[in-house]
């Protein structure tokens, strides 16, 4: 009977480990010597042919970092990280930055192909050119991709087409060369070098990342996306993303990431800065799928990321959507500082922890401008021995008259060895502001599973369906193509969590 075979296959795929992105690419790499010192910072800056002001900026960050203590306040636990035992620069050997995809090492192209990341413009463009916002039947909307492999950006697609609109979309190292005034004006203005331990580390040694500038009044005609891949061993990844939406502009940006399966833990300490000016809107979506480690908790990525947006302009809007399925440890709080009057911040999050994964994630909404509003929808799912913490801060300054916040935190437990924790901090210093918080915790009920199975669904499919239902409010915020991928990912992440 086919159903029986299928069940067996599911069980096998579970026991064999289900991280499907765990392969390694064999490619010639260039490393800086292991460890961290002022010399390494200078080495990186020199490699990137950076102007003096940026080197100075990095050195200042390094000096700040040396005086800082690694924070330990989150609910996650992990052994001490030896910062001298990692590489801070690892790049595929390339003579010069390739000018076209033809010049990119085919081994790299194959890697991205395997990961399902479209780096070939023609392939995606076929049949959709000129179709505008709506894809032709069954067609895909074009997505411009910046691919970051270990420390450097290897390719950016659709640049020419974007340049026509005046949009700058390239790696940040390239932007330093081509648009130094923009980078200098905005870099570190949202997340200063000394903001926190990991941000300082990142500021000192960041190697690459994406840069986006959308000029006044421009609606970015396609999704922009960066795809991060950690490949090399013992390498930290410190990328830096800077997105500026000038007055009245709109952009939707996606970020995806994977890493090979390894026994050791790897550190990923990124910084993302978003700036939205008057009437601008930025939608930032992440599907985080770093290697989570095996069922016993060996290996996996430590994901310690600082993501912050400033809604500087009046009526500006920033929306963070994240689906966090990977990483051994996730520690991040994409935040919005709502400075402009009537500006809007949104945070939609799904965080899954399975096996021994730990996640401490949430957001900060800082209301400064008048009538600013924020919405937080957080869905935490814990399975296996996973531990999931929502930590959120809503701060309303006395200036933020008539500000509003609505927070909803829902937790779903699968099995009885996992945990869910909700830690909301509310600091309201404005009489006319309204802050609402709702929280629920539920378990996938036996009767729900049985109902689905009686209708012919396998237990895994039933869990997937119920979990997707639980996350629906968040998933519907994702761009279409990502939503489908995210749904599959949720299911894969939970394989083996029941029965």
């Amino acid at each position: 009977m086919p159903a029986v075979t299928e069940t067996i296959e599911t069980v096998q795929s579970v026991t064999e480990g289900t991280y499907k992105w765990g392969f390694e690419t064999d490619i010639e790499m260039e490393f800086a010597p292991k460890g961290l010192s002022e010399d390494i910072v200078r080495f990186i800056s020199k490699k990137k042919n950076e102007p003096d002001w940026l080197l100075e900026w990095r050195l200042k960050a390094y000096a700040l970092w040396q005086k800082m203590e690694e924070p330990r306040w989150s609910a996650v636990s992990y052994p001490a990280i030896d910062y001298q035992d990692a590489y801070y620069y690892a790049a595929p050997v390339q003579k010069a930055k390739p000018k076209s995809l033809e010049e990119v090492d085919p081994e790299l192209l194959r890697t991205y192909e395997k990961l399902g990341i479209p780096l070939k413009e023609q392939a995606i463009l076929a049949g959709v050119e000129g179709a505008g916002e709506t894809p032709a039947d069954g067609g895909r909307l074009p997505v411009a991709v910046d691919a970051v492999f270990d420390s450097v950006s290897v390719a950016t697609t659709f640049k020419a087409r974007l340049e026509k609109e005046g949009i700058v979309f390239c790696s940040i190292s390239e932007a330093v060369q081509t648009h130094p005034e923009l980078v200098r004006q905005y870099l570190g203005t949202v997340v200063p070098q000394g903001d926190n331990f990991y941000a300082a580390l990142n500021s000192a040694v960041f190697t690459d990342g994406s840069f986006v500038y959308i000029p006044k009044g421009v609606r970015c005609p396609m999704e922009l996306s960066t795809y991060f891949r950690i490949n090399a061993k013992s390498t930290g990844q410190f990328e830096r993303t800077l997105i500026i939406a000038d007055e009245g502009s709109t952009v939707s940006y996606l970020e995806g990431c994977t890493a090979p399966m390894r026994d050791e833990n790897q550190l990923h300490a990124a910084v993302v800065e978003l700036v939205a000016l008057d009437d601008a809107s930025i939608k930032y979506s992440t599907v985080q799928n770093w290697y989570p480690g095996d069922a016993e908790g060996r290996g996996g990525i430590y994901n310690f990321v600082t993501k912050r947006a400033q809604c500087r302009g009046k009526r500006s809007k920033v929306s963070w959507t994240q689906v966090e399925t990977g990483s051994a440890i996730t520690w991040k709080y994409p935040s919005c500082v709502l400075l402009g009057d009537d500006s809007v911040g949104e945070f939609y999050s799904v965080a899954i922890t399975n096996n021994r994964q730990q996640a401490d994630t949430g957001t900060k909404m800082i209301h400064v401008g008048k009538r600013t509003s924020s919405t937080i929808i957080s869905k935490g799912i814990s399975a296996g021995r996973g531990q999931n913490t929502y930590r959120g801060l809503v701060r309303v300054a006395p200036t933020a008259s008539a500000a509003r916040n609505f927070t909803q935190c829902d937790s779903l437990l699968i099995g009885d060895q996992c945990g869910a924790h909700t830690v909301p901090y509310i600091e309201n210093r404005c009489m006319t502001a309204k802050v609402e918080h709702e929280a629920t915790t539920s378990r996938i009920a036996e009767d729900q599973l049985f109902y689905c199975r009686q209708r012919g669904l396998s237990e895994e499919d039933a869990v997937g369906l119920i979990v997707n239902g639980f996350c629906r409010e968040v998933l519907k915020e994702l761009p279409m193509e990502f939503a489908v991928e995210a749904q599959k990912l949720l299911q894969i992440s939970l394989e083996g969590s029941v029965g």
Partner: protein, 247 residues
């Protein structure tokens, strides 16, 4: 089709089914009546494979297959359908998605091609029209906020889509208005075929005016204590279960 022999089962160590013998030949519809707590729902859960019901003896064969050896989803794929006495809510799961996932799971089990969203929608609309169900029920979460009667009709819609070989309806008539009762009965009657059987659990003779059973069984204290033709239901309606005990 379905052959139950000497079936005993317990819940939390408490014996509920105490030796059920029942045979439903292909093409027949049998009704099961019995007082509250006599084990009717327990029987339907045991047949469909719900966890927590320990089978302590007996056997069930379904079209020659040992039903009790199969997982619940395998029983569904083999053609067994249970219309729940208390249909379960699945928040956030769209009814359309759920129905299509279920239909395709069962179709896969039968080796039939899966339906895409468009094909499914066409079929679902057809079946819904036949059951006088408003189309917006497809958009809502599975059973979420449905009225009691709507939940029951949703069960019948699922049955109409999945086209089982054996349908067990556990008090599907409870809580239905007269019109809905007819609709549900029509749904069952439409499935009548030489290779379709049904076990209709009910407290009311009224339903059996619309779904005329081939046999009526009385389940009491975990045993089938009396079986007869449709007239047995009338007799129970008139004089209650006391008359059975006396018999």
């Amino acid at each position: 089709m379905l052959k139950i022999e000497g079936l005993t089962a317990e819940v939390d160590g408490k014996p509920i089914l105490k030796g059920i013998d029942l045979e439903v030949p292909a093409g027949e519809i049998h009704a099961i009546m019995g007082p509250n707590g006599s084990g009717k729902s327990t029987l339907s859960y045991v047949l469909s494979g719900r966890e927590g019901y320990e089978i302590t003896g007996g056997s069930v064969s379904f079209n020659g297959v040992d039903l009790l050896a199969l997982e619940p989803e395998e029983r569904a794929a083999a053609g067994l359908f249970l219309a729940f006495q208390y249909p379960v809510e699945l928040p956030g799961v769209g009814n359309a998605l759920f129905l299509r996932t279920a239909l395709n799971a069962v179709r896969r089990g039968k080796g039939e091609p899966e339906l895409d969203a468009m094909q499914f929608l066409k079929l679902a609309r057809e079946r819904m029209k036949a059951l006088s169900m408003p189309e917006d029920m497809l958009k809502r979460g599975v059973n979420v906020g449905f009225s009691g009667g709507e939940k029951k009709r949703n069960e019948v819609l699922q049955m109409a889509l999945l086209r089982p070989k054996l349908a067990i309806l556990d008090e599907t008539d409870s809580g239905l208005d007269i019109d809905a009762l007819k609709i549900v009965a029509d749904g069952v009657n439409a499935l009548r075929a030489p290779d379709f059987s049904a076990l209709v659990i009910t407290h009311y003779q009224r339903l059996l005016d619309y779904i005329v059973p081939d046999k009526v069984h009385v389940l009491m204290g975990g045993r089938i204590v009396q079986s007869g033709g449709p007239e047995l239901a009338h007799q129970l309606e008139a004089s209650g279960y006391a008359s059975v005990k006396a018999a």
